[in-house]
Amino acid sequence: MRKGSSSSATTRPARRPGQTLARWRRDRLLLLLAAPGLLVVLLFHYLPLLGNVIAFKGYLPFLTIAESPWVGWDNFQVIFSGDPLFVNALTNTLIITLIQVLFVFPLPLVLALLLNEVISERLKRIVQSVLYLPHFLSWVIVVALFQHILGNAGMVNTLLREHDMTTFSIIGVPELFEVLITSQVIWKDTGWGTIIFLAAISRVDTSLYEAAAMDGAGALRRMWHVTLPAIRSVFVLLLILRLGDALTVGFEQIILQQGAVGATASEVLDTYVYNHGIVGGNWGQAAAVGLTKGVISVLLVLGANKLAHKFGERGVYHK
């Protein structure tokens, strides 16, 4: 299947000077199809993106952007000042990202593979419908549910206490904060994450399974040799895009729970920027941090994409 895309690449010759007009004529339908989407991207992403110039200005809403005074790199101070609180927030962010990329990111794939092996179509759909429900709860509710069930005075601990058994603490323990928020993310979004993999698996030609079965492949080997290759490219693509978000970890989820463990354990980049600048109404600083994060994300995505090419993967875009 995958060879298809590369073979068709040969039918569209690489760019040669003087051929732009001919290519224009050939591709005008394609460009026409892309035009509405492109227009939206220009109008509602790139045009307002010009407003990020306030990263270099002392902008306040009652001034126009043009009226606001230039302040040079002042707004970037928050990132490059070397404040130990900032370093702590950055460290926490990277640890959480690492944990989530390693343990949370692959889970939807595993779950999708498990679901794929369920023979009854009806059962498969029911299970999937149940598992994707938590995605629709807001973080406020998820946090409240976790507290109510797993809290120190929650349902489980109350039950244990009533039966004179040892109780446990996971909420309000700084050392376990990462465990707590990771399990919340798993609970909330694993089922939802399977959707995209199920779509990828659904493209597998069933005749390939038949062929594999005839070669004597068991369930595990069929999964390894037929299912996985079909979704590998999607998996790699999502991984690259996830890396682009490496500096962003659940702002709302975390800020709701900082009160229980304190900032040392729970401060991440976004909460730091919020607590140390945006509360003061510093719009320029918010833009500065956004820009910096954007630049780092670009580097991460481009780097990850290069790496993917080295492993013979397609990545987000071709070499």
Binding site: L33, V41, L43, L50, N52
Partner: protein, 316 residues
């Protein structure tokens, strides 16, 4: 193109696949007992871990103040259920109208988004097409750099979209993540299929309509769902762009019931009127009301991506 047999199997119209009486395709062979048991166990635990809290959500939405007080919060199994919270929310007609607005915005937005996303993803998936690489990067970068709230507001204002429901759709019409994922799926469609069509004289539009779209039901359903859920859950743009509360979508209206500690303008109620439903019940009822419509859509889309697709059916 494909139909679902009563046994839950995917079958080509032309020839039904042979299957065993258990609904398992013959080629699968007998299942490994240990693996099956393990799989069953994992999925059962997974479902239980989700269902118990959800039971608490639904039960609490049906609980009286007395029961909420007794449990000190969430109620796992409601003793004498009451619809008082739902009545409190739905009376006055504000929520019902917001529901209609949300449904309209979600349907119109999802269709428009899908159309634009398919067009963009398809153009970007045709290898070597004019400008595809810079356009792809431009789309990708919108994921990594986000415009600020105020510049975005000024653009919407300049375009005259304030207090217009289009302001809830146009700014979020294209989501880069969705474009890139859809393109990825388009790329995996066998090139020889398109080549043979081209030789038969089909242009890019015909190829899209006759080959790409029919083979992409799964990804279109998924991306459609992503967009729909995005439109359904959005409230922040409405907060900024829609000044008339009577045009607010459901999520923003419901938000006014939960963001504060005073439910239902409670100090306006004088003694003599009935006591109000507990705030936690109202919150949970709001949750249920806001989730149900989007849950109803799911089964219709789900069938497209939990079921094997026959590429062979197109190949012939």
């Amino acid at each position: 193109m494909t139909t679902t047999s009563p046994l839950g199997l995917t079958a080509k119209p032309r020839k039904a696949r042979p299957s065993t009486s258990t609904g398992r395709p013959v080629w699968m062979g007998p299942p490994n007992r240990v693996l099956t048991a393990l799989r069953g166990l994992i999925l059962t635990i997974g479902c239980a871990v989700v269902i118990v809290p959800f039971l608490a959500v639904v039960s609490t939405s049906l609980a009286t103040q007395e029961e909420v007080t007794e449990n000190g919060g969430f109620v796992l199994l409601v003793r004498d259920p009451t619809l008082a919270s739902y009545q409190a929310i739905l009376s006055g007609g504000v929520v019902t109208r917001a529901l209609v607005i949300s449904i309209l915005v979600t349907i119109a937005g999802t269709l428009l988004s899908l159309a634009c996303t398919i067009g963009l993803a398809y153009a970007l998936s045709r290898p070597g097409s004019l400008g595809s690489r810079p356009i792809l990067l431009a789309v990708l970068f919108t994921m990594l750099f986000s415009p600020g709230m105020i510049p975005m507001y000024l653009v919407v204002k300049q375009l005259g979209l304030l207090d217009n429901l289009l302001a809830l759709i146009l700014p979020v019409l294209i989501n880069a993540f969705n474009v890139i994922v859809m393109r990825e799926f388009f790329l995996d469609i066998p090139g020889e299929l398109m080549e043979s069509a081209r030789i038969d004289g089909a242009n890019d539009l015909t190829i899209l309509a006759r080959i790409v779209l029919p083979l992409s039901k799964a990804v279109i359903s998924v991306i459609g769902l992503f967009y729909a859920v995005g439109y359904w859950n959005a409230f922040f743009n409405a907060l900024l762009y829609i000044s008339s509360p009577e045009k607010w979508p459901l999520q923003l209206v419901l938000r006014t019931y939960v963001v504060n500690e005073t439910p239902m303008g409670v100090d306006q109620v004088s003694a003599g009127s009935e006591s109000l439903p507990p705030q936690l019940s109202i919150q949970m009822a709001i949750l249920v009301i806001s989730i149900i419509p989007i849950l109803l859509v799911y089964p219709f889309l789900q069938k497209h991506f939990t079921k094997g697709l026959m590429i062979g059916a197109v190949k012939g």
